[in-house]
Symmetry: C2
Subunit: 315 residues, 2 copies
């Protein structure tokens, strides 16, 4: 424990398959924390109660009484803090903020995981040196968050920073359809799922055998070894992501773009070619102005962002 | 004259071929004003002095001494108020703000015409009912401005809202190259120049005779008469513009998008199909949320925006 900076913020992060909770100090240090994989038998309300119990256990271990509660949710959150579905049955019926407030008797702040991932990285991670950044989380899907002047920019309806649904090949009939109802979105070309699908297609086209459980991590590793199928697959994803980043910079003119999520763990095998392609995808006036960085907080960007949001509300 | 709201803001708007100056009241009413076409013999410094004289004449006619000066410039302006080139020889060498301050002994505020077009429309025009909007000016080129919480959003380097250079067909080798160094930008597909070029191409392909001085206005008029070549040309431009608008909304989630500039004067012949295409180009979570409106201030959006900026600085 840190006497000068007690762990007095309780933070939760509800993802599609995992949830975390932890106590966080004002300087972003993570104290006692728990990670739980959602039991398949749990519906939304059951899972929430299970995590509330985890939170109660944390508080029992804690020396400092918590001052506020920040919650990251892996789905849309409106400007009133109401959550929407998350591929988990029964979530829609929950008034997450009220239930949290009842359970802990504390002010509760809720936002979605991509917005809070951006805030976490800005406050404690790869963007500590700036108050303005865009955050892309590239995993199964592609989410986004924009932090302007140190605050999450939520937009008029709470659905700003939908970076995954910027269309970069909307007129290409060969581009994949996206879950969002469009075609050729960044998500449909550069998400982990899209990379795996494209790798399978490219390997089949090249007459290569099917690889069981082929994922983005294997694609980047094979690209690092110079294998042609993987280089081609990576190029498609990187080009789409680069144009998505460039479009965000055309709108927001930011000094830093941070990429997190599972796909970003490929490190320089992603960021090397991505930086080159982003420069090419920018108009001349914007070239050389933004730094493209890997997220620094790993799986904890959103949890720490939730804590930062709760801290800001106390200040 | 209006006794309760004197014309005490002096505003200038320097475009590529025309400049305006006018006295503006705090409620946005335009008082005495002048419009000058730049004599071809004038270089930047000569033209500036000519307009300063016009401004001095206005002040002689004015009852109220001006309190501040706002300047719109048809080219990039950095965050320190320095201007960059504008296809007019000798502009680069001018310290516009300092020269204006010397000439009038007043505080001077400078921004680019697209940013100020957005601010003018937000304060006095098509966006009076909101504090948040995106503004597209569609004329020879395509420029952009974003107004967030009633202020121009300039970005870290003063080059935010480059909406014309969002790429919507970056991977299409048949898409036109853009002046910005890229391919398939909104500007290269939907500007007045792009529409005229595409119309010429489509007519030639259809074996139709060449039309002298064919411009976007004729294309929209012919589309209104149902002529196939014009419908095809319009569809290309509208689709590109729609995806540009959709990308801006994916990033900023705004309630209102205003389009001004010469091409927007086509009115419903543009806005009708555009509204439909923007909805199709949005992800489901953003559909039905933003209104697409025609600019209300015609050629005066930027001049009145410059006045609004000067007023805000006084407040």
């Amino acid at each position: 424990m840190n006497a000068s900076s007690p762990f007095d913020i309780l933070a939760f992060d509800f993802g599609g398959t995992r949830a975390r909770c932890g106590l966080v100090a004002r300087d972003g240090t993570l104290g006692p924390a728990r990670i739980l994989k959602r039991p398949e038998s749990d519906d939304g309300p059951q899972w929430l109660e299970r995590m509330l119990n985890e939170g109660r256990w944390l508080l029992k271990e804690s020396a400092a009484p918590p001052k506020a509660l920040g919650v990251s949710f892996g789905g849309p959150v409106d400007n009133a803090g109401h959550i929407f579905s998350m591929h988990v049955p029964g979530w829609e019926s929950i008034d997450l903020r009220r239930r949290m407030q009842e359970a802990f008797g504390l002010p509760v702040h809720v936002d979605n995981d991509a917005n809070l991932g951006g805030l976490g990285e800005q406050r404690f991670g790869a963007g500590k040196d700036t108050r303005n950044l865009a955050y892309f989380t590239v995993s199964t899907g592609v989410g986004g968050g924009a932090v302007l002047n140190g605050k999450v920019y939520r937009g008029t309806h709470g659905v700003a920073a939908e970076f995954g649904h910027i269309a970069v090949r909307p007129f290409d009939p060969g581009a994949p359809a996206c879950d969002c109802g469009k075609r050729g979105c960044v998500e449909s070309l550069a998400s982990g799922r899209a990379i795996a699908r494209e790798a399978k297609r490219v390997r089949a086209e090249a007459g290569l055998p099917e690889l069981a459980g082929l994922g983005a991590d294997q694609v980047f590793a094979a690209a690092g070894r110079g294998e042609a199928w993987a280089l081609e697959t990576r190029a498609t994803a990187v080009a789409a992501l680069a144009h998505g980043v460039a479009s965000v910079l055309c709108v927001l003119d930011l000094p830093v773009v941070v990429l997190g999520g599972g796909v970003a763990q490929a490190g320089e095998l992603l960021f090397g070619p991505l930086r080159t392609k982003v420069e090419e995808a920018l108009p001349v006036v914007l070239r050389g102005r933004a730094q493209i960085r890997q997220a620094a907080l790993g799986d904890y960007s959103s949890l720490l962002g939730a804590a930062a949001m709760a801290m800001d509300a106390l200040a």
